[in-house]
C-alpha cells in the first residue's frame, strides 16, 4: 500500500530534476519578482567581509535580509547606522543563494537601500538632500552676500497670527530699531506652504528697498517644519541676491533652509538680532561717547599747544633778561675790582713814601749832615712828583663830595648832586644834571 502510494506520487509530479539546476532556476525566478519596499525592525545584525545580514520583522513575521556592504555604504542610512532595534524601510527584491559543494543554500531579501522609517525616514531624506545641495555649493551662495548691520527695510515671511511675529516686534523694539517692515504672510506648515513661501521671498527680494529678508516660524515636529526642507524652496533661497535670515523652530531643529540661508538664528526669539545685528540703543550711546572723545581731543590739542606756544614765546624774553642780569653783575664786579685796585695802589705808594723818608731821615742824622739834607731834598722832590697835587697841576680836576671825600664814579657823582671840583689852585662847587651817560651800552 505504502509502496503503491509512493509510486503513484512520483509519477504524478514533474521531475525528478537535478537539484542544482532547480536551485539556479529558483534563483532566477526569485530575482525576476518585482522590487518592493519593506518596513520593519532590524534584529540579528551580522557582517561578513562583503555583506551585512539582518532580519526585518514586525509582530506578524520576519524576512531574512542581506545587503552588499558597497550598497550599505551608499544607502541613506549609512553603513555604521545599521543596528538592532531601529525601524527601517528596505528597498530590494527576493534572492536565493543556491549554495555549492560545501556552502549551504540560503534565501534572503536582497536589499539595495536602507533608510530610517517614520521621523527617521524624514531625517534620512533630509540628510540625503543636504548632502546633495552642499555638494552643489548652494550653502555658500547666500553667505557671500553683504549683510548690513543696520538695515532700514526688512522683509519678513511668516504666519500672520503667529507667535514669531510678536517675538520679532518685541525684539526689534528692545534693540531700538524703528525702520520699515514689509510683511509677506504665508502658510508655514501645510504641503502648499513651500511654494507660497518661495514666491513671497522672490517678491520681497525684487523690491529694491528690502535689504534683508527674515523667514520665521515657531517650533514643531520635523513633519511640521518640512516645508522649510523643501528642495525647490531651498534652491530658490540659495539663488536670491538679498540675504535671507532663517529663524525656524527650536534650537535642536535644523531645517534645510537654515543651511542655505545667509544666517540661521537658533530660534525665532533670536531673529531680531539676526536681522538687525546692531543694537541701536547701545550704538547711540557709543556714538555719543565718540563725539565727546573727539570734542575733547580737538579742544585739548589746541589748548595744550597754545600753552606750549605761549611758553615758547616767553622763552627769548626770559633768556634776554637773564643775559642782562649777568652782564650787570659783571659790570658791578669789574667796578668794585677797579675801585679796590686804586685804593690798594694809593696805600702802596704811601708806604713807599714813608720808607723813603725814613731812610732819608736816618741818613740825615749821619756824619755828613749836609750831604744827607741834599739827598733828602732830592727825595722830597721825587716824592712830590707822585703826589696828587702834581696831577692837578697838570690840568686834571678831582671831584669831591660835600665832605671832601673823592667821588670816583659817574654814578656816585650823579647820586651826590652837589659836588666840589678840586683844581690845583682851589675848589669850586658844582651841580650835576641828567643821568649817567655810559661810555658803551652794557
Amino acid at each position: 500500500m505504502g509502496e503503491a502510494l509512493e509510486k503513484s506520487r512520483v509519477t504524478s509530479l514533474p521531475g525528478p530534476f537535478a537539484v542544482g539546476r532547480y536551485a539556479r532556476e529558483l534563483q532566477e525566478w526569485m530575482r525576476e519578482r518585482p522590487r518592493v519596499q519593506l518596513i520593519g525592525e532590524v534584529t540579528g545584525v551580522g557582517r561578513s567581509k562583503v555583506q551585512a545580514y539582518f532580519e526585518l520583522r514586525d509582530s506578524e513575521g520576519a524576512v531574512s535580509c542581506a545587503i552588499w556592504l558597497n550598497d550599505l555604504e551608499k544607502s541613506e542610512l549609512g553603513e555604521s547606522n545599521l543596528r538592532d532595534g531601529i525601524k527601517v524601510v528596505v528597498e530590494g527584491g527576493l534572492d536565493y543563494y543556491p549554495g555549492g559543494g560545501q556552502a549551504s543554500p540560503k534565501f534572503s531579501f536582497r536589499a539595495t537601500n536602507v533608510r530610517l522609517a517614520g521621523e527617521g525616514d524624514l531625517i534620512a531624506r533630509l540628510e540625503a538632500l543636504r548632502r546633495q545641495l552642499r555638494a552643489e555649493g548652494l550653502f555658500e551662495l547666500q553667505k557671500q552676500l553683504y549683510r548690513p548691520v543696520l538695515p532700514k527695510t526688512i522683509g519678513v515671511v511668516t504666519a500672520e497670527g503667529g507667535a514669531a511675529r510678536r517675538d520679532l516686534l518685541a525684539g526689534l523694539a528692545r534693540r531700538g530699531w524703528e525702520g520699515t517692515l514689509v510683511w509677506a504672510f504665508a502658510p508655514v506648515q501645510d504641503r502648499h506652504a513651500a511654494p507660497v513661501i518661495g514666491k513671497a521671498l522672490q517678491d520681497l527680494a525684487a523690491r529694491p528697498e528690502v535689504e534683508v529678508i527674515l523667514v520665521t516660524r515657531g517650533g514643531g515636529s520635523l513633519a511640521d517644519l518640512w516645508a522649510f526642507c523643501d528642495e525647490t524652496l531651498c534652491r530658490t533661497v540659495a539663488m536670491l541676491r538679498v540675504p535671507v535670515i532663517s529663524a525656524i523652530g527650536h534650537e535642536r531643529d535644523n531645517t534645510l533652509i537654515d543651511d542655505v540661508a545667509a544666517f540661521a538664528c537658533s530660534t525665532p526669539t533670536h531673529a531680531p538680532e539676526g536681522v538687525v545685528p546692531l543694537d541701536c540703543l547701545a550704538a547711540r550711546e557709543t556714538l555719543e561717547r565718540s563725539a565727546v572723545a573727539l570734542r575733547r581731543a580737538g579742544e585739548g590739542a589746541i589748548d595744550a599747544r597754545s600753552r606750549h606756544l605761549g611758553a615758547l614765546a616767553r622763552g627769548p624774553a626770559r633768556a634776554l633778561q637773564r643775559q642782562r642780569d649777568d652782564l650787570n653783575q659783571k659790570i658791578r664786579e669789574i667796578r668794585a675790582a677797579a675801585e679796590r685796585g686804586l685804593a690798594e695802589r694809593a696805600t702802596s705808594q704811601q708806604r713807599i713814601g714813608t720808607v723813603v723818608l725814613e731812610r732819608a731821615r736816618r741818613r740825615a742824622v749821619g756824619a755828613d749832615m749836609e750831604k744827607r739834607r741834599a739827598a733828602l731834598h732830592r727825595a722830597t722832590v721825587t716824592l712830590r712828583a707822585h703826589e696828587p697835587e702834581r696831577t692837578l697841576e697838570r690840568g686834571y680836576a678831582l671831584v669831591e663830595g660835600e665832605g671832601g671825600e673823592p667821588l670816583t664814579s659817574a654814578e656816585a657823582v650823579a647820586a651826590a648832586e652837589q659836588v666840589r671840583l678840586r683844581f690845583a689852585d682851589g675848589r669850586i662847587r658844582a651841580r650835576t644834571e641828567g643821568d649817567v651817560e655810559r661810555e658803551r651800552e652794557a
Binding site: 514689509v182 509677506a184 523690491r207 556714538l287 565718540s290 573727539l294 580737538g298 590739542a301
Partner: protein, 76 residues
Amino acid sequence: MSERPESYEAAVERLEEIIDRLDSGQAGLRETLDLCKEGRDLVSYCAAELDEVGEGLKELRLDDLAAKLEVGSEQS
C-alpha cells in the same frame, strides 16, 4: 565729508581707529585737527543712519505694495 562711508560698520570702524590714534597722543596738531574733522563727519553720518531707523516703526504689507504698484502702472 570727503567721501561717504561704505556702510555703518565701516564708519564705526574708522571712527574707532581715529579715536585710538587721538588717544595715543602721537598725532601732530595738523593731523589731530584733520582727524577730529573726519571723526565729526563720521559721527554725523552714523547719527543720520540711526535716525533713519529711529522715527517710529512702519509696517507695510507686500500684498498692498504689489497692489499699489499695479494701480500705478495702470494709471501710467
